[in-house]
């Protein structure tokens, strides 16, 4: 089950990418663990997570077509 992960702002410097696809990720907690393993400096970064454009704070189940976004602090305007 592929999960699409969109990356924004300063996090693109850490992940060196604007988008990733990961498989076999059951929920957002599992996603965070996997990302921190692959990109250790991500663990110290401030960001929120959105699943299908809704920000999530509690652990959230990911489904086949879930789109996850990693959102560092906003700085528009």
């Amino acid at each position: 089950m592929p999960i699409r992960i969109m990356i924004f702002g300063q996090l693109t410097d850490i992940l060196n990418s604007h988008e990733l696809t990961l498989t076999d990720i059951a929920d957002t907690d599992a996603l965070v663990s996997e990302l921190n393993k692959r990109y250790p400096s991500l663990a110290g970064a401030r960001y929120m997570m959105a699943v299908n454009k809704q920000t999530v704070t509690a652990n959230t189940i990911l489904k086949e077509d879930s789109v996850v976004a990693l959102l560092p602090p906003f700085s528009g305007g």
Partner: protein, 150 residues
């Protein structure tokens, strides 16, 4: 009258002053309007560790930003007696001194226009997934962070 479908707020590059003038001019036929309030965000040439900000490059998570902006718009219209609201935000590079944000509210009464404009600016700064990358004149950069208090 008050059509409030999700609409695009993003423009490529700076907001031109001629565009602002045209937007104002279009409202002259709306003779129930008594006051317009406008906020313009301008890119500052801040000095950070002896390096000067030459421009800001904006990116967004567009689908999410437009949904958020739609929700903000709905909230503001339900709270204030507004005739209309227009919001434009730059994407891509905006040079210091140029306009990157244009928020424009109109109402029969000045207080509604003024307070709706202020609240819209505060909310979009806090809630829209938009990121500014401050480009220095030596081609290095840093990621901007919005202050909630200033």
């Amino acid at each position: 009258m008050k059509e409030r479908k999700p609409k695009n707020i993003f423009v490529q590059g700076p907001v031109a002053t001629s565009f602002i003038a045209e937007s104002i001019q279009k409202h002259s036929t709306q003779t129930s309007i008594g006051g317009h309030s406008i906020f313009l965000g301008q890119v500052r040439a801040d000095l950070i560790n002896d390096k000067k900000v030459a421009a800001i490059e904006y990116t967004t998570y567009e689908e999410m930003a437009l949904e958020k902006m739609h929700a903000i718009r709905e909230d503001i219209f339900s709270k204030y007696e507004l005739t209309c609201m227009h919001v434009y935000h730059s994407l891509g590079k905006v040079v210091a001194g140029e306009i990157s944000l244009f928020v424009f509210t109109s109402s029969p009464h000045r207080k509604a226009a003024i307070h709706a404009c202020e609240e819209t600016v505060e909310r979009l700064k806090a809630e829209l997934p938009v990121w500014g990358k401050e480009l220095f004149d030596d081609e290095s950069y840093q990621w901007k962070e919005n202050s909630q208090t200033l």
